[in-house]
């Protein structure tokens, strides 16, 4: 049997990165916004992000928060740019579909808070 030289299991190292206080705080905050347990988020991030993106997660999160636009309150509340451009947890298509549904519900007269909460919960199901 031959193994490929240097192809290592990176999971322990990725977990090390996510255990720093800054990362813990960031993951907790993202989890709170998406209604997802931090453990699921960590597992998903370890599987989908490379080590450099994991290292840069807190900085990207801060940058995303700082650049949230005020012109579309629904997109800002859901974190349309934050969770696609700055933190690539969702594809633009997934986010646009979720935003579309949320706009329809708002159009039917449902409350903003409930719509945002439900949309984030639906999006967050992808992590489980």
């Amino acid at each position: 049997m031959m193994d490929v030289l240097y192809e290592k299991d990176l999971r322990p190292l990725k977990l090390h990165i996510l255990e720093s206080p800054r990362h813990r705080r960031t993951i907790r905050e993202i989890g709170r916004r998406l209604g997802v347990e931090p453990g699921w988020l960590i597992r998903w991030a370890m599987a989908h992000f490379d080590m450099q993106l994991l290292e840069n997660l807190p900085a990207r999160f801060e940058q995303g928060l700082a650049h949230q636009g005020a012109d579309d309150p629904l997109a800002s509340a859901i974190g349309a740019e934050l969770f696609t451009v700055y933190l690539p947890f969702f594809t633009t298509e997934e986010m646009n579909a979720a935003l579309e549904q949320a706009r329809e519900r708002l159009g039917r007269g449902e409350g903003m808070e409930a719509v945002v909460k439900d949309t984030l919960r639906v999006l967050g199901r992808g992590f489980a």
Partner: protein
């Protein structure tokens, strides 16, 4: 890695152009680079965990061991964080001396980064000239602080030793020659046709992408973002500092920003030494319990320390965000994506001045 590619091409972890080990895996189609990802873990020190629970007097020495190239700024930002927590103001003379040490450190770091770039694009002659010039700056740092790498020059309230008149004149006397040589090498770099072929239009980082991944330092400033923590630093504000910015966003711009910043740093050192106020270099103060985040401008960009101390001055929690974390991500996920030749991967990576020791901590 996705399986839609011709070759998944690994560069590193050990590579003649890399100063430190890191592995960049490139997805390619022919010579075209579709995307790249970085694998770390070859020099993890776990320094934040080592710092935890230790008194600040020990952590001060550990902080500058995060990185051997920019050790002064790690020392400076950690000490300024402790001062912010404890409400200590440094002595005025010491504040100027801190800027002198920090700017000399920036010059040597920028010259080393530009040497690495020249070496990577096989312009060894200019690279060696830059290394030789860097030695002269290292000598000045040694004159000022007594050491070349780990200096522990700054302490809460000031600096450890004052500068003598002889050293002050020696540094001031060396500045014109270093400036002249830096300008000469800058001219060689900007006018070199082969250098231009390997550098202009290569590894472009747009202003938008630089913003998305929070690129900092010369990498961000070469993409048109005027971000520099020195603009908000009280001593630099007295010196009338303004950042060097370019718009091209390519390898060439990043190297040129470093050349220009080295020249600017020489002026800052000169100003500080000419306007050096009289007085003590240590103000009193006691390090207290508290927590804060403090940011400083390292040679590679924004360096931030989050520190929480207890009532005995021990570090209860610490988190360090180094500039290379953001800049390497920018290099791997934006600059390399769409590179027309796999041969440019090394020069793109080096142009971001990556420090793996800083990144892995």
């Amino acid at each position: 890695m996705k399986r839609t590619v011709d070759v998944s091409f690994p560069v590193g972890p050990v590579h003649p152009c890399w100063k430190e080990p890191a592995r960049v895996k490139c997805e390619t189609r022919g010579e075209y680079v579709l995307r790249a990802e970085v694998e770390l873990g070859y020099m993890k020190k776990g320094i934040e965990r080592i710092m935890k629970g230790r008194p600040w007097q020990e952590v001060m020495f550990l902080a500058e061991r995060v990185c051997g190239i920019c050790s002064v700024v790690h020392n400076m930002v950690f000490i300024e964080t402790m001062e912010k927590i404890s409400g200590i103001a440094p002595a005025e003379r010491a504040a100027y001396l801190r800027v002198v040490a920090n700017e000399l450190d920036r010059i040597q770091s920028h010259l080393l980064a530009n040497f690495s770039y020249c070496y990577t694009i096989e312009h060894e002659t200019l690279g060696m000239y830059l290394l030789d010039l860097r030695e002269k700056v290292m000598d000045l740092l040694e004159k000022l602080t007594g050491a070349r790498v780990n200096k522990a020059y700054m302490v809460p309230g000031g600096v450890r030793f004052d500068i003598g008149e002889e050293t002050r004149h020696a540094i001031l006397g060396s500045i014109p020659r270093i400036r002249e040589e830096t300008k000469r090498y800058r001219g060689m770099f900007s006018g070199g046709p082969m250098i231009g072929l390997r550098s202009k239009g290569v590894g472009i980082l747009s202003r938008e992408d630089a913003g998305r991944c929070h690129a900092v330092g010369p990498t961000a400033r070469a993409s048109g973002i005027a971000v520099d923590c020195r603009q908000r630093h009280p001593t630099y504000m007295k010196l009338g500092f303004s950042p060097v910015v370019r718009d091209e966003g390519d390898n060439f711009a990043r190297v040129m920003v470093r050349f220009d910043e080295a020249i600017q740093s020489l002026s800052l050192v000169q100003q500080c030494l000419e306007r050096l106020p009289e007085g003590p270099v240590l103000a009193g103060g006691i390090c207290r319990a508290g927590e804060t985040v403090h940011r400083g401008e390292a040679p590679r960009g924004e360096l931030s320390y989050f520190v929480k101390t207890d009532e005995y001055g021990r570090i209860a929690e610490i988190s360090i965000q180094t500039p290379s974390i953001m800049n390497i991500e920018a290099a791997a996920h934006y600059m390399m994506t769409g590179a027309v030749s796999l041969a440019d991967v090394t020069s793109i990576f080096i142009s971001a001045d990556p420090c793996i020791a800083c990144t892995e901590r």
